[in-house]
Amino acid sequence: MIQIRGLTKTFGKLRVLDDLHLDIAESRVTAILGPNGSGKTTLIKSILGMVVPDKGDVWIDGTSVRGQWAYRRNISYMSQIANFPANLRVREVVDMIREIRQQPAPNMDEIVRRLGVGRFWNKQMQHLSGGMRQKVNVLLTFMFDTPIYILDEPTTGLDPLALMHLKELIVQRKAQGRTILITSHIMGFVEEMAQHVAFLVEGRLYFDGSLEELKQRTGTDTLEQSIAEIIKRNYAAV
């Protein structure tokens, strides 16, 4: 269980997270949604300890993550932009992360085969296309078996086949009872993968509940429509 308590973060004058409270339940796929700049990535980076919050705290299984590092053993993180050290080869990045994590990577060979990463296994990162890099990102995230997966815009740049494999991996982890956190702007993808939605608007929690509840509340049929409805309402109010 991930508990977010009073999380506040400002960058300069911009208040990105504003006293955010949220519980992310175990063994469930939770989608964090919201318009651009609503604080999704900042929230995720606070959970990972990459962003240091001004106020508030993140608790994982009852322990605060502030200043901690060992808890990241339990988290696999897929970053929004697949940036890797330019002059390292794919193989070297994979070896490096494995060596640092010191964890078994039981799913590595299978994912390498399915995504076709073997074709550019010995290429340097700077020579890979955006989609290839994203495949490496998928591999690095899913090769370990961890209780928590955090995926920030995982679909970006993936071809349809790779996207299918990504969905399979998420479904598989969901079935194994892992806690999965996803942000995405592709509502079809969210609808397919997530059971639960947390909707952020300007750094605050606007809605927290199941997909069905969200649709009921906005009186719409699809997730896309209800999200559009929420965004419209909020910006109409402003």
């Binding site: 973060k9 960058f11 980076k45 990972l48 300890g49 990459m50 962003v51 240091v52 590092w69 060992a70 808890y71 990241r72 053993r73 988290i75 993180y77 970053s79 940036n83 890797f84 050290p85 330019a86 002059n87 390292l88 990045v93 490096m96 992360i97 060596e99 640092i100 994590r101």
Partner: protein, 262 residues
């Protein structure tokens, strides 16, 4: 253990970088040229002193800033892993400083040992010179990382770092000298001593001059230093101050790193 791994990655990464070899080749050629021009080891060592106290800080500064801005992806990737932030940044610091120091030591060491420095009377002077070059590299890489961490904007970071080098290498001496001239009617020994301790480049110069036993050449501060401390105590003092100078930017860098958002 974590620290060792990071240092290894950084060094492996730098061994692939063209700049490590450019730096090595530069010192190699410099050593050759100095020996060729001076045709004498001890003269070459003295010339080298002036070059080392100015150039190693400059190269450490430029390289430190450049490395940080080029390794932001590496940092982001590793920050999401079970690693201590302190270890990650200390590892980068040590890795960069160590490989620059190695380029310096090998680049100058090879031509000078081919010229027979190992069996000459100036071997210890030469060794002290290299050790001080190493110290200055660590100090200025540390300062450069502090500046880079504090500035997300590359251009600004680069500018401030170069400015810092300029301040220590050139501006400081000018102001110091002006101060001494202006207040020459007062007893200035303590002021002069303090003034030397807060600039690692001056400190290194004095240390080398004490070792070469030509401290009087340095003029006022060198003479004061020698008079107050004598050669051996003076050297220990100066080395202690240099160690402190390595430690302070390092801790400052960690302080910034702990508070930074990535």
């Amino acid at each position: 253990m974590q620290l060792y791994k990071i240092v290894r990655y950084v060094i492996r990464d730098l061994l692939r970088s063209r700049w490590t070899y450019v730096y090595f080749a530069f010192y190699y050629l410099l050593g050759m040229v100095l020996l060729f021009i001076n045709r004498d080891l001890s003269k070459a060592v003295i010339t080298l002193m002036n070059i080392i106290t100015i150039l190693t800080p400059l190269i450490g500064t430029v390289f430190g800033v450049m490395y940080y801005y080029n390794s932001r992806e590496f940092i982001q990737l590793l920050l999401a892993q079970p690693l201590r932030r302190d270890m990650l940044f200390s590892g980068q610091y040590i890795g960069v400083s160590l490989s620059l120091s190695l380029s310096l030591i090998l680049g100058l060491g090879i031509p000078f040992s081919m010229y027979g420095v190992l069996y000459s009377g100036v071997i210890w002077d030469f060794a002290v010179l290299l050790v001080i070059g190493g110290f200055l590299t660590f100090i200025f890489v540390g300062l450069a990382l502090v500046v880079a961490l504090a500035n997300d904007n590359r251009i600004k970071g680069f500018g401030y770092a170069i400015f810092l080098w300029l301040a220590f290498a050139v501006v400081y001496d000018g102001l110091f000298l002006l101060g001494l001239l202006y207040f020459r009617d007062y007893p200035l020994e303590k002021f002069a001593l303090g003034g030397v301790l807060v600039n690692p480049i001056d400190l290194s110069r004095i240390l080398i001059l004490l070792k070469l036993d030509i401290a009087a050449l340095m003029g006022f501060t060198g003479a004061v230093f020698k008079k107050v401390f004598g050669t051996s105590v003076g050297m220990i003092m100066a080395f202690g101050a240099l160690l402190l100078w390595v430690w302070i930017p390092w801790q400052l860098m960690l302080w910034y790193a702990r508070r930074k958002d990535f």
